[in-house]
């Protein structure tokens, strides 16, 4: 029977009460350690389709009669459309429709950033649509853009109120501290650059709208479009079977989807709207730049007594305040903490979530200033972290925390320090640094799954979830196979279609596996229970003596029957198990933790930096697929190396125009930039967290990488780098500053 309960739902630290239907009693967690399938390396179930070029991404969908759209985007950072004429475009070859400001809400006549959508055209071919855009006549009134986030804060121009947090008495603690360090850190704007750009195809079927979209959130897109167009939610069907990366940027419908829906309505044809790479790097979001003015204070024994930070997020024309202040509030046991966060509204493209938004930036500042403090106190950086270990969150108990064990596992890597430094030679100075990680990742309800078991003894997991490349489908297959005692090649996973499966969670916030895994397990358990009930009746056994093992129903008296014989009684019909994600532990906070140790070499003459080795030790509860998990960790670290050393979205400070919109000018890491990466996952199930004990892993590995590298650079050279990316210019500036400081502090000689 369906049981309705009231429970807490947490998304990246924000709690709300929700109603939840739970359909059966909770299952006991599996014992710690690998099972038959869960906890053992599994090849990606979609691997062959993707590797053979058979997977059909949104980019590959071609519907009969499909038109192509192109969007006219503002060439100015801040402007007003005084007059616009679509007529010449409508008369161009192949053009079927054109829309301008106000004809759909996402098209504006007052763009606030370069790249904001103003008009759109649908034509028989993409190049016809692009050519027609050139004919649209616009009379622009160009305005003076505001590009300096500090100036926006001074003017009170914010996208939301400043958020303030204080515990204890920071001013008193600072006055009484033995050592105080103050420093300003800066992080740059980083572009997601998913390989598949944002794109959608919209097709109306009467009053129903089919949306094929590259998305991380099938249900979020459904609800957003339904609300905007005044449709009942299930009149909108959202499909995303294969998806070419998102990293946080694809949680919404975005302008291109609304443009495609409107043009499809006007033409009666399916319409595709796909961003070019250059549009992607203007209009699809970014990790916003930050300025962090931080203070850390300690007693002479290293006990932290105060942490304070003023954080300015260069949010852009719209967006939300990602939690740059979060790590400072959460990572250490410090009685006195004060943070202020200003989300500045400026004439740059809006931010979107990007893999641990806010925490990547905030961890860079916090974990660097902690090492600056340790250097001043002449304390070992690993020791100061242990000394100030927070055994619970500030306001509620943690469901589990094994960061101290991560530190213990980091020791042998940290102890390589002397040997690494000793390999310094000529201009190449070597050093080791570390940084800790805290992030969310507990997932939560609601999330649902079905498991269908056919008479051939094959199971199908059905849920309207998207696999954004993280290996979700594989993890779900493993969980179902483990519960059903089937080999994994007898479990299929069908996902990616809001009309063909139950509600599933958004793939964001490291929540997919911890939200969906328990739902899939409970669905599989429900199917397994039915198999046993049927077998008990057919073979005249008591249910309590029957269990599933190795594809068989086995009896404690030695009898056994293949599952396909039992389900085969139903002929073409199937058993259907339904499962729901249960609630998170009431009153507790679920967090992920970890530590990374980086080894670097710095050429002190040229400022060149090479990352030579990164060790990642994370605690994310039970690990479902160690192979896929190691890939996730490597990917996070490589993206981290990108924003630490080379990636930087550049804006012309006069006009607000983005100068590097291409993958040539915007420097992603290549295979030649990748260091040795060592992954260690503790694999300790969180005993309080659902029937799996698994937390999410998508985001934790990118969080501490930049700070670990910057701290390794300090270890190698004595220089305090405080700005990302650590370009050669920044490296040489920090080296010169370190030399000046050394001169000033050296005893006078005669």
């Amino acid at each position: 029977m369906a049981r309705l309960i009231r429970t807490e739902k947490e998304v990246e630290g924000r709690y709300e009460d929700v109603w939840l239907v739970v359909e059966e009693d909770a299952l006991e967690q599996w014992p710690a350690g690998p099972g038959e399938i869960v906890g053992r390396p599994a090849q990606r179930v979609t691997g062959p389709l993707r590797a053979r070029g058979e997977a059909r991404y949104t980019a590959d969908i071609r519907l009969p009669g499909m038109l192509q759209a192109a969007v006219l985007r503002s060439p100015h950072a801040y402007a007003r459309v005084k007059k616009i004429s679509l007529e010449p475009a409508l008369a161009a070859p192949g053009v079927r429709a054109a829309i301008g400001p106000g004809e759909v809400e996402v098209l504006t006549d007052e763009p606030g950033f370069q790249g904001q959508a103003v008009a759109a055209v649908a034509a028989d071919t993409y190049w016809q649509a692009r050519a027609a855009l050139e004919l649209v006549e616009v009379d622009w009134g160009v305005r003076e853009p505001l590009l300096d986030p500090d100036e926006a804060v001074r003017r009170g121009q914010l996208v939301g109120g400043p958020s303030r947090y204080e515990r204890g008495d920071v001013d008193r603690a600072l006055a009484e501290a033995d050592v105080v360090v103050e420093a300003e850190y800066r992080t740059q704007t980083v572009l997601h650059n998913s390989m598949e750009t944002h794109q959608s195809i919209c097709e109306w079927q009467g009053d129903r709208l089919d949306v094929y979209i590259s998305t991380q959130s099938i249900w979020g897109v459904r609800d957003e479009i339904a609300a905007a167009l005044g449709l009942a939610p299930d009149k909108v069907r959202v499909v995303c079977e294969f998806m070419g990366g998102g990293f946080g940027s694809k949680n919404g419908a975005n302008d291109h989807t609304f443009v495609a829906a409107e043009l499809a309505k006007r033409t009666g044809r399916p319409v595709r709207c796909a961003l070019t790479r250059r549009e992607e790097n203007l209009a699809s979001g970014n990790r916003n730049a930050t300025i962090q003015r931080l203070t850390a204070a300690a007693k002479s024994d290293g006990t932290l007594v105060a942490l304070a930070g003023e954080f300015v997020n260069a949010t852009g024309w719209s967006g939300w305040a990602s939690s740059t202040d979060g790590p400072m509030q959460m990572l250490y046991d410090c009685e006195n903490v004060r943070t202020t966060l200003y989300p500045a509204k400026i004439n740059t493209p809006p931010m979107k979530a990007f893999r641990a938004p806010g925490f990547v930036e905030g961890t860079f500042g916090l974990e660097c200033i902690l090492d600056e403090l340790a250097a001043k106190l002449e304390l070992d950086p690993l020791e100061i972290r242990r000394l100030n270990y927070a055994s619970s969150a500030a306001d509620r108990p943690l469901s589990s925390k094994n960061l101290m064990e991560c530190y213990r596992r980091a020791e042998p890597h940290w102890q390589r320090r002397d040997e690494v430094r000793a390999r310094s030679e000529g201009p190449w100075q070597r050093g080791v640094g570390l940084a800790s990680q805290v992030w969310y990742g507990g997932g939560g309800p609601p999330s649902y799954a079905w498991v269908r078991l056919g008479s051939d003894g094959h199971a199908t997991v059905i849920t309207a979830l998207q696999d954004i490349g993280t290996g979700t489908a594989t993890a779900m297959a493993q969980v179902a196979a483990e519960e059903l005692s089937l080999p994994i090649d007898r479990v299929d996973v069908v996902l990616g279609d809001s009309a063909r499966g139950p509600y599933a969670v958004t793939s964001a916030g490291s929540s997919t596996v911890p939200s969906m895994g328990p739902a899939v397990r409970s669905a599989a358990a429900e199917a397994a229970r039915q198999v046993i009930e049927i077998a008990a009746q057919r073979y005249e056994q008591e249910e309590r003596v029957l269990s599933l093992s190795d594809g068989q129903v086995v009896s404690s008296d030695g009898g056994s029957w293949p599952i396909e014989d039992v389900v085969g009684l139903l002929e073409d019909a199937q058993i259907l198990g339904k499962g729901a994600r249960g609630p998170n532990p009431a009153g507790m906070q679920v967090l992920t933790f970890g530590v990374q140790v980086a080894e670097v070499a710095v050429d002190v003459e040229t400022g060149e930096i090479r990352v030579e080795r990164v060790v990642a030790i994370h605690d994310v509860g039970r690990v479902i697929n160690p192979l896929g998990a190691s890939s996730q960790v490597e990917g996070g670290i490589i993206q981290g190396i990108g924003h630490t050393l080379s990636e930087d979205r550049l804006i012309d400070p006069q006009t607000g125009i983005t100068l590097n919109q291409t993958l040539d000018a915007y420097k992603l890491p290549t295979i030649a930039d990748v260091p040795e990466i060592v992954t260690e996952l503790l694999d300790i199930p969180d005993e309080h967290l659902t029937n799996l004990g698994s937390k999410g892993l998508g985001e934790p590995p990118i969080v501490p990488t930049a700070a670990a590298i910057a701290n390794a650079i300090r270890d190698a050279t004595g220089a305090d780098v405080r700005s990302l990316p650590i370009s050669r210019e920044e490296m040489l500036r920090a080296l010169a500053e370190a030399r000046e400081k050394e001169k000033r502090e050296a005893p006078a000689t005669v």
Binding site: Q43, R44, T46, G47, P48, R50, A51, R52, G53, E54, A55, R56, Y57, A59, D60, R62, H192, N193, S194, M195, E196, T197, F242, M243, G244, G245, F247, T276, R277, I468, G469, T470, G471, L627, G628, S630, S631, Q632, E634, G635, G636, I637, I638, Q639, T662, L663, D664, L668, P669, T670, I671, A672, V674, I677
Partner: protein, 145 residues
């Protein structure tokens, strides 16, 4: 009307001058295994072979292909590299993967036992935003099983 030799078959394609090979493969011939991620020759997702040499098909005009044999991922589906990429988990979202495998196939054809440096040199023109690079290196280093 140019004739193209693709994966051992001959195709007549009636497309205007100026069309790229990538667009022709994907839009005119339905060979969507070749991906377009930047459309301006920067990322390698669209890599195909012309007479065994990897090229970016998004900046190769179809009328310049001539007699050369075009090999796309559809022609390499049984190549041992495909199994090696799956075995080593050398793909995440998979959008760059066909291009990676096409590039790697050219490398191992001329150099069946490439060193780490040779792999990195040959593959640096294929970007992977998911960061599967260590696994790609492993897949190519162990492609023969």
């Amino acid at each position: 009307m140019p004739e193209l030799r693709i994966n051992g078959e001959t195709h007549s394609v009636d497309v205007p001058v100026g069309r790229t090979l990538a667009e022709t493969l994907r839009n005119d011939l339905g060979l969507t295994g070749t991906k377009i991620a930047c459309a301006e020759g920067h990322c390698g997702a669209c890599t195909v072979l012309l007479d065994g040499v990897p090229v970016y098909s998004c900046i190769t005009l179809v009328h310049t292909v001539g007699e050369r044999e075009v090999t796309t991922i559809e022609g390499l589906r049984e190549h041992p590299l495909v199994a090696a990429f799956v075995r080593t988990d050398a793909l995440q979202c998979g959008f760059c993967t066909p291009g990676q495998i096409v590039s790697a196939s050219a490398l191992v054809a001329s150099n069946p036992d490439p060193s780490t440096d040779e792999i990195r040199h040959a593959m640096a023109g294929n970007l992977c935003r998911c960061g599967t690079d260590p696994k790609i290196e492993e897949a190519i280093a162990t492609w023969q099983g």
